[in-house]
Each structure stands twice: as structure tokens, then as C-alpha cells.
């Protein structure tokens, strides 16, 4: 039953393996000098999860496409149940993110990302391209990503929640949604951005008003029914105002801090701004070729927080320099572009949409995680795929690559 290696997308496998090995190396380097014995063996655990992922991936590659298609909704449903279970029985120190199954601790939120992509792909695959601009499709799509998002929202992790929305727009776009309809989907998100006071300060009301006017004009031009135009303008206004309300009343102080600190790390140099500043110092001090493997002082002397998880990219930047970061970025870019090209080549609509979902999910993770370490994005709990230590993330991302390999293997079948 083993797939023939020559039939698989070998460059893709090579790139992902390279990332995984770089990751294990960086995790080792991040912890080898640690005074906590448990941390010194994290890289071995990571290697173990990597090995565990291989048979799972082979199973996914070998499974009949029919089966994957049929299982999309049940898998999604299972993920929702697991997320609910986390809310009820969750373990973990300060974040209710973990579910213990015997000795293995899993993070259902990581697997739910895959489940949401599968369910979304299945739903859009069942919808004719011509129908994809219908508001009904948007509502259903938002429901699919909204359910897991709602369930992880109580977890203190904004980044993971936002990761569910990320594949939505590219997948709709791939499914055939027209530019006007896409603008309708994106515009409430833009509205949230323009109503965000910490970013724009005293300019906020003017900027928000200007955006509402410009978007209303766009709707008037793009849409032909008055009720639709009014609904969209109302939606834009509502989402902007809702964002203000959420910011002031619903977000937890540390979540607000993360965003404020991201906008101005120096405002709390020794407190919450510490992470961003130390990460930028680590990466910047790596220079062209880095300080050398195991010689990163920011990492070794614990100036860099969460060096083996969320900030693992900074370890690579410090020890391997610009050369190292460019290699990692090139590998990721290759994987993502490869995913899009697989989507292009795959005749099966469900698999093709899945590949786009995978590409956009990876792109979102890489951009947000790396962006966070270099001060382009606020600090969130999103891991760097294949590189950050974390078994659930590694397993989920391996499954995602397996889906790509499956699509590639079956690209000629409808």
C-alpha cells in the first residue's frame, strides 16, 4: 500500500523535510543550555512527533479521494466536539488549549484548522462557480469558519482564532466568487481595521467616516439592488462599531496589550514589549551569516522568550543570520507556491480548493509568526509550521502536506 516515492511531489517533500530538520535543530539550540531538564529533551519529542506523522501522512495520501470528500464534514464535526471538550475538560497551565488523551496531550485547535479547510472545500466544491457570489454562500462560509473561531475565542489566543478566517477569502476567490462579492466579504474586515483607534489615534473618526463613504460608493457602483447596498453599508458600519465595543469591553487586558505593544514596543520595554524587542535584537544581531549554531547569546542566555515555540524563527535569525532566514523563507515560499500550483493542476474541485486552503493557511501562519518576530505583526500564539516545537501543530501540518501530496498524486482524476 506504500505510495511509490517517484509518484509523489518530491521537491515538496524535500522542502518540508528540510524545514522540519531545521526546526528540530533550532529547537535543540534554543534549549540545550537551559537549566530546566525537561526543556533539553524537547527536540527529541519533536523528532518523535515527526516520525509519528509519517504513517498518518501515508494513510492520507493513499486514502481514496471519495473517502476524504465524504469524511470532510464528519472530521469537521469531530473537531468541533474536541474544541467543546477543551472548553469543558481542558488542561494546561494558564491557557485552556490542551486535551489529554492518555499520555498524549493534544491541541484540538490545531487540528480544527485542517477540519475547517476540509469542510469549507467540501461546501464550496458542492456549490457551482456561478452560485459562489450569492450571499447565501457567504453566510454558510462564515458559519463554517465562525463555529471553530467562536469555540477557540475563550482560549486566550487571538492568533489561532484569526487563523480560521484566513483561508476563507482565497478559497472563495478560487471557487469563483466575483470581485464585487469578494469586496463585500473583505469590506467589513477593512472596516474593523479603520475603526481601530490604537492604530490611528485621533485620526480614527475621520478615517472611519471616509472609509464608510468610499465603500458605500463602491457598493453603489458594484451592486445593483438597493437592499443589498444598504445591507452592506449597514454591515460595514456595524462591524466597525462592534470592533470598538469588543476592543473596549470584551478583549482581555493582555490581548489589548499585545496589540498596543506591537504598535509601540518601547512603551513597555521591560514588560510586554520585551518579547518583540529581544526578538528583533536577536534577529538583527545575527547579521549576514549569524553567530553560529549554538552560539546565539540572546537564545542561550534566555533574553529571547519562548525561543523554541513562537519565537523559534528568531533563533534561526540569530544563529544563521540573513542567509538562514532567507533559506527558511525560500523553503516556505516554495511550499506555498507549490500548493497553489497543485491546486491549479488538480482537476478534482474539492482537492483543488483544499490545496488553496492549505496554501493560505500556511501563508497566514508564516506571515503572522515571522512578522511577529521582526516587529511587523503583533505578538500572537501562532506557531511557525514545521519549525516551532509542538506536537499537535507538527501533526496537523503534516496532514495538510499529506493532503497536498494526495491532490498531486490524484491530480488527473475528477
Amino acid at each position: 500500500m506504500l505510495p511509490q516515492l517517484r509518484d509523489l511531489d518530491r521537491p515538496l517533500i524535500g522542502a518540508v523535510l528540510a524545514l522540519g530538520i531545521l526546526g528540530i535543530t533550532a529547537v535543540y539550540s534554543a534549549n540545550f543550555a537551559s537549566e530546566v531538564p525537561v526543556l533539553r529533551t524537547v527536540w527529541q519529542k519533536q523528532l518523535g512527533y515527526g516520525l509519528l506523522a509519517i504513517p498518518l501522512a501515508i494513510a492520507v495520501i493513499r486514502a481514496p479521494t471519495r473517502f476524504l470528500y465524504a469524511a470532510a464534514y464528519p472530521i469537521f464535526f469531530g473537531c468541533l466536539v474536541a474544541l467543546l471538550a477543551v472548553l469543558v475538560f481542558g488542561t494546561g497551565e494558564d491557557a485552556h488549549r490542551w486535551l489529554a488523551i492518555g499520555p498524549i496531550q493534544l491541541q484540538p485547535s490545531e487540528f480544527a484548522k485542517v477540519g475547517a479547510i476540509l469542510a469549507q472545500a467540501r461546501y464550496l466544491a458542492d456549490t457551482a462557480p456561478a452560485q459562489c457570489s450569492h450571499p447565501r454562500v457567504f453566510v454558510a462560509s462564515f458559519l463554517i469558519v465562525g463555529l471553530p473561531m467562536l469555540l477557540v475565542a475563550p482560549e486566550p489566543d487571538l492568533g489561532t482564532a484569526l487563523a480560521y478566517v484566513a483561508p476563507l477569502v482565497p478559497m472563495l476567490f478560487w471557487a469563483g466568487t466575483g470581485p464585487a462579492a469578494l469586496f463585500c466579504v473583505v469590506s467589513p474586515l477593512l472596516s474593523v481595521v479603520f475603526s481601530f483607534e490604537p492604530a490611528w489615534q485621533e485620526l480614527t473618526p475621520y478615517l472611519f467616516a471616509l472609509y464608510i463613504l468610499v465603500s458605500a460608493a463602491a457598493f453603489f457602483y458594484l451592486l445593483n439592488r438597493l437592499w443589498l447596498i444598504l445591507t452592506m453599508v449597514g454591515l460595514n458600519l456595524g462591524s466597525g462599531l462592534l470592533a470598538v465595543y469588543v476592543w473596549e469591553h470584551l478583549l482581555r487586558p493582555y490581548q489589548r496589550d499585545r496589540i498596543v505593544i506591537f504598535l509601540d514596543p518601547e512603551s513597555d520595554r521591560l514588560g510586554a514589549g520585551w518579547n518583540i524587542i529581544q526578538s528583533m535584537i536577536a534577529i538583527g544581531s545575527g547579521g549576514l551569516t549569524g553567530k553560529g549554531f549554538l552560539h546565539g547569546t540572546q537564545t542561550k542566555y534566555e533574553f529571547l522568550p519562548a525561543a523554541h515555540t513562537d519565537f523559534v524563527f528568531a533563533v534561526i535569525g540569530e544563529e544563521l543570520g540573513f542567509v538562514g532566514t532567507m533559506v527558511v523563507l525560500a523553503l516556505f515560499l516554495f511550499v506555498i507556491l507549490r500548493a497553489v500550483s497543485i491546486a491549479s493542476a488538480t482537476k478534482n474541485r474539492f482537492l483543488s480548493l483544499t490545496a488553496i486552503g492549505v496554501a493560505s493557511m500556511l501563508l497566514f501562519h508564516v506571515f503572522v509568526n515571522v512578522g511577529m518576530t521582526i516587529g511587523l505583526m503583533p505578538v500572537t500564539g501562532l506557531p511557525l509550521p514545521f519549525v516551532s516545537s509542538g506536537g499537535s501543530s507538527l501533526l496537523a501540518n503534516s496532514l495538510v502536506i499529506a493532503l497536498l501530496l494526495h491532490a498531486h498524486l490524484n491530480r488527473h482524476d475528477f
Binding site: A125, P129, P170, F173, W174, A175, G176, Q278, M280, I281, A282, I283, G284, S285, G286, G287, L288, T297, Q298, K300, Y301, E302, F303, G317, G321, F322, T325, M326, L329, F332, L333, I336, L337, V340, S341, A343, S344, K347, N348, R349, F350, S352, I356, A359, L363, F367, V370, G371, I374, G375, L376, F414
Partner: protein, 599 residues
């Protein structure tokens, strides 16, 4: 189930390609900026993170007396500290210490901004043991810090000369030399500690280490260490026996001062001023109350009267007029003036004498300290000539003694001085000649003046450390004249009618002069100046006791005690090797101490 047409698909794929590439380009540019463009700044920040520079304090130079007794040394003190603690850790540790050692075992208060909080400074070894053995296991952030503290084993002895130390102030740090100091360093505030601060202090060294985010040292670089250069020791000219004799002889209830010089070189053998203080009070952490009292208004204990006390000299100044008259040929040892009848009217003013002395020559007049004789002498001498000789003896001038705060100049009035104050008259001179006028002198000036008479006409420059300056031969005062003056001073102590007979010593011939100055106080200031031995003098002493009464009764015994100590010490041969003072937990130098990281 096909997607839209094939062209449509590749167009959409192209948009996704471009989007992904654009986002990656953004990251790539940002990385280029961080790792290439601004690399240097981040590399520096990274070094600053991990490299800690710890100051290695230079041990301060010690101060020795002439025979090697240690007057100032560095003592090790232990402090209980708490490092990088939270409020609750602080509260728990403080409660544990208080439970074990009592309520006052903790002084410091919690501060979030301080990396190290000093809970109690200068604790005893019992406390150190209790904290280390019993409390620290449960409160690991507690630490015992070792510091060096200045210590003066003889307490009050030499306090005015040594001065005291204190924490550096803003103005010290702002001075050009202030860069070498950290904000809670100690610096010499007065006395030798201040005068020779730059000599005593040495140069601090720097030790480099790699530290982690928690401040723990992970690696050291002994090869890059800049060792501290210890401060230079001072070996003073002070004869501790003479010094202690002077301090003991000065009455405790009255203020006063004594200066003893080597009459040949100007070396200061003793320099005492009462009231005095214990300089340990200024560095000790247990003596805030005492320190406040000393520094408070109305406390005169910090005034060094030997250098900064300005006194009327009384009859001790009569040698000026005697020298001038002899030198100018206005009198000799045989001539006399109309006899003393106890008082003399000059103009509208009546001058009184200490007794009815009859007809006297110069030697007799000095022996009994007859004012009337010198009033007659003043009339033939005149103001300008008297003033010239007073100036030749160095009155109204600085002696050149290096000290902080600097010595006072005193006051030798000029004609200009009188012109501004109602005009000169003969009465002014008459007061000056007998030491009751506007003339003001310091005990140090009087000791130098006495030394000049004793050594045959050389003005010495007093010094307490280093090499003596070449004595300056006084122009216009012949050795023969001074021989006569010395003879008269011999009779003051040894003659049958001498006023200074209480300064007599059996083992050595002493010569001197009493003075009783009517100052602002109810009781007169008592003066005595002396030198010894009479033949080939080696020591000159000046003593003043404020409000002590007559010089013969209050000041002469003080000088006698000083001379007795000096000549007794001379007999027991002088050891040249430094003797170490005995004191608990002291060492020649405290080991180099690293106190805190420099910014």
C-alpha cells in the same frame, strides 16, 4: 465538477502567486533592514544585554602615623540583601528575618526599581550565620553582600586631621573628577580624606562577564579584566604619642587646639582640636542620630580650631616687638623704660599691667610679661616697623599647609585696614603689641612663628605627608637677635618670676611664652607657645584653650604634656616598620569588591 475555465483558473492562480510573493518580499525586506542595514545597532544591543561590566573597587589607601600605627583602614562589613524580588518574596523574607532576629533586623524598604534591596547594612557575624544557615534555604533570593567600609581604629584621635568620608553628592559627581564615582560611593569630605582623595582612592577596575536574562553569570573573561589600582597609603609625620598626649591634655570641657611642629622641617607632629568627633560616625550605618547631631546647627565639633580658629594671641605676640626693637637697635638687653606702676595712661585710655613690675629690661619684661614695658617700646617702634616684623614671622599669611578646608589667613591689620575703620591711632598699636588688638592668628601660625624663633630665623612650611619644603630664611632678622629672644623665653619657663613655670620639664630645657587674650568670652583665652630643647630646638608647640583663663595656668600644662610625650617617645627609639592596629575583622586592605554593574 470543474472549476471555471482553464484560463480563468491560471489567472486566479497568478493573483495568489503575486500575493504570496508580495507578502514574502515584505518580510524579506524587513529582514534585510534588521540583519544587514541596522545590524551594528542590534549587535551592540545584544552585547549590552549579555556583557555585564562589574566594577572592581580599588582598595582605598591606608593612613599611618609616623611610627606605623594605622589611623585609617578598610574594614569588611556584611549586608543582608535581596535580589530581584517581587513584593511577596520581599514580605516573606522580611517576616522570616524579623521572626528570627527581632523587629529591627531589617531597615530597607521594598522598591520595585532596585535590582538589589539592602535589608540591613553592617550586620554582625551571628546575623550572617543565621541568615545563611537558617533563613536562606527557604528564601533563595537573600544574599550576604560584602562591602568595604572606612574604619578609624583610634576613634576620636586625629579626627580633625583625618577628616571624614561621606556619600558623594550631586556636585561631586558633576565635577571633572566625578566620573570615577558611582552614586553611592564614599568620598573624602574634609581633612586628609578630602585633601588627598585622589591619592587615596586609587583607580577602580572592571570585570567583564556574560550574564543571562536572569542576571546569573554564565561566563567570565579574566583575560579582559582591568585590575583595580589600589590607592596609595599615606605615612604621616604625626607622632601618635604626642598627638594623644595633646588631645588628653586639652580640657574636655573647653574648646582648644594644639599644634606641634618639628622646628627644623615643619613636619606636623601633632595637630589637635577640641571638641572633636569620631569619624566612624560618618561611615557607619548605625549612627545616623550622632551624625545628624554633629552636622546640625550649633555643633562646633567639626571646626578644626588648629587651622580655622582665629584668636587674639595675647602676650605670646610680644616676641614680635622684642625682635623688631632689637633688630632695629631701639633697645638692648640692658636698657629699660620708666618703671611699671601697674597702669599707664596713653591719650585718654588707661592700660593695665598684670602686676607692678618696676623698672625692667627686655629679658625681664618678657619673663614677667610686663605690658607697660611693651607699651613704651611700641611708642619708639611705630606701627610700620612692628607690622613689618609681624609679617616677617608669617602672621596674616597662609603657612602653606595643605588641608581641607584650607587654613584661615588670620588678620594682620594694615594702615589701610584702619583707614576704613575710623583711622589709625597710637592706641591701636599699643593693643597690637600686647596681643589684644585687631590681630587674629591661628594656632598653626603661632606654631610656625615659634619654630622660626627656635630655629634661628627660618619660616618652615608645615606638612603632614610627603617631603618638607626648603625652609625660607627670614630676611632682616639676625640669629643674634633671636638668640636673645630665646633667652628671654627660657626665663619665662625657668626664671624665678617666669609666667610659664608650669611648662618646666626635668629631662629637657623648655623655653616658651604665655598669653592671656581678652576676647569676646567672659574668660580669657589661654595661650602658650614653646620650643625645646633650649639649645638646638627640635620641636615647637602652640596651644590655646578658649576661656581657659591665664596662659600660665591653663595652656602651659598642655604644652608641657605634649613636650613630655615627645621627649619620652624620643627615648624609646623609633621603629620604622608599620605596626598594624588590632581590630576585629580588619585587614590591611579589604579584598577587591565588586559592587554593582556599571551602566
Amino acid at each position: 465538477m470543474a472549476l471555471a475555465g482553464r484560463d480563468e483558473r491560471s489567472a486566479r492562480a497568478r493573483i495568489l502567486y503575486i500575493t504570496a510573493c508580495a507578502l514574502f518580499a515584505l518580510i524579506g525586506l524587513r529582514l534585510f533592514y534588521l540583519q544587514i542595514t541596522t545590524f551594528a545597532r542590534h549587535a551592540r544591543d545584544s552585547d549590552r544585554n549579555r556583557i555585564s561590566q562589574t566594577r572592581v573597587r580599588a582598595p582605598r589607601g591606608l593612613i599611618y602615623a609616623r611610627d606605623g600605627e594605622v589611623l585609617a583602614l578598610n574594614r569588611i562589613i556584611y549586608s543582608i540583601t535581596l535580589e530581584r524580588s517581587t513584593r511577596s518574596e520581599y514580605d516573606a523574607a522580611v517576616a522570616a528575618i524579623r521572626a528570627a532576629l527581632g523587629e529591627d533586623a531589617v531597615d530597607g524598604s521594598y522598591s520595585r526599581n532596585q535590582r538589589v534591596i539592602r535589608l540591613k547594612r553592617d550586620v554582625d557575624l551571628h546575623t550572617v550565620a543565621v541568615v545563611e544557615e537558617l533563613i536562606k534555604p527557604d528564601h533563595p533570593k537573600l544574599a550576604v553582600e560584602i562591602e568595604s567600609q572606612r574604619y578609624y581604629p583610634y576613634g576620636h584621635t586625629c579626627s580633625h586631621l583625618l577628616g571624614y568620608m561621606g556619600v558623594v553628592q550631586e556636585e561631586d559627581l558633576a565635577a571633572p573628577s566625578g566620573r570615577a564615582y558611582a552614586p553611592d560611593d564614599y568620598i573624602g569630605k574634609t581633612g586628609l580624606e578630602k585633601e588627598f582623595e585622589s591619592v587615596l582612592r586609587g583607580v577602580d577596575g572592571v570585570r567583564f562577564a556574560e550574564v543571562d536574562a536572569a542576571g546569573r553569570v554564565r561566563r567570565e573573561f579574566p583575560e579582559r579584566e582591568q585590575p583595580a589600582i589600589p590607592g596609595q597609603d599615606l605615612r604621616l609625620t604625626i607622632d601618635l604619642d604626642v598627638q594623644r598626649a595633646a588631645e588628653k591634655a586639652l580640657p574636655d570641657s573647653l574648646a582648644g587646639a594644639v599644634v606641634a611642629l618639628d622646628a627644623r622641617t615643619g613636619a606636623v607632629l601633632a595637630l589637635a582640636s577640641k571638641p572633636d568627633f569620631d569619624p566612624n560616625v560618618f561611615v557607619s550605618t548605625h549612627a545616623q542620630e550622632e551624625r545628624r547631631r554633629l552636622l546640625g546647627e550649633g555643633s562646633m565639633a567639626l571646626l578644626n580650631r588648629a587651622l580655622n580658629g582665629r584668636y587674639c594671641p595675647g602676650s605670646t605676640i610680644k616676641m614680635v616687638a622684642a625682635t623688631a626693637a632689637l633688630e632695629e637697635g631701639l633697645t638692648d638687653t640692658l636698657s629699660s623704660f620708666p618703671g611699671c606702676r601697674g597702669a599707664l595712661q596713653v591719650g585718654g585710655h588707661v592700660f593695665h599691667c598684670t602686676g607692678v613690675h618696676g623698672e625692667l629690661n627686655l629679658l625681664q619684661a618678657l619673663e614677667v610679661s610686663c605690658n607697660i614695658y611693651f607699651l613704651h617700646l611700641a611708642q619708639v617702634l611705630g606701627f610700620d616697623r612692628w607690622r613689618l616684623y609681624a609679617a616677617r614671622f608669617g602672621l596674616g599669611q597662609r603657612t602653606g599647609f595643605c588641608m581641607e578646608p584650607p587654613e584661615s589667613v588670620g588678620l594682620l591689620p594694615s594702615r589701610e585696614y584702619y583707614r576704613q575703620r575710623g583711622g589709625y591711632s597710637l592706641g591701636r598699636l599699643m593693643n597690637l603689641v600686647i596681643g589684644q588688638g585687631e590681630l587674629l592668628v591661628t594656632p598653626l601660625q603661632m606654631a610656625r612663628y615659634t619654630a622660626a624663633i627656635a630655629n634661628g630665623g627660618y619660616l618652615v612650611q608645615p606638612y603632614v605627608w610627603g617631603q618638607p619644603a626648603d625652609p625660607v630664611r627670614i630676611e632682616g632678622i639676625s640669629p643674634a637677635t633671636l638668640r636673645t629672644v630665646r633667652k628671654a623665653m627660657y626665663r619665662v619657663v625657668n626664671g624665678s618670676r617666669g609666667t610659664g613655670r608650669r611648662a618646666r620639664l626635668d629631662q629637657v630645657e623648655v623655653a616658651g611664652k604665655t598669653g592671656t587674650a581678652q576676647g569676646p568670652r567672659e574668660d580669657s583665652d589661654a595661650w602658650f607657645v614653646a620650643f625645646a630643647p633650649y639649645v638646638a630646638p627640635t620641636i615647637a608647640v602652640a596651644a590655646v584653650v578658649e576661656g581657659g583663663g591665664t596662659g600660665g595656668t591653663a595652656a602651659a600644662p598642655v604644652v608641657r604634656a605634649v613636650l613630655a610625650a615627645y621627649f619620652a617617645a624620643d627615648e624609646d627609639s623609633v621603629s620604622t616598620e608599620p605596626k598594624l592596629a588590632q581590630a576585629d575583622s580588619t585587614s590591611r586592605h579589604a579584598p577587591p569588591l565588586s559592587a554593582w554593574a556599571l551602566q
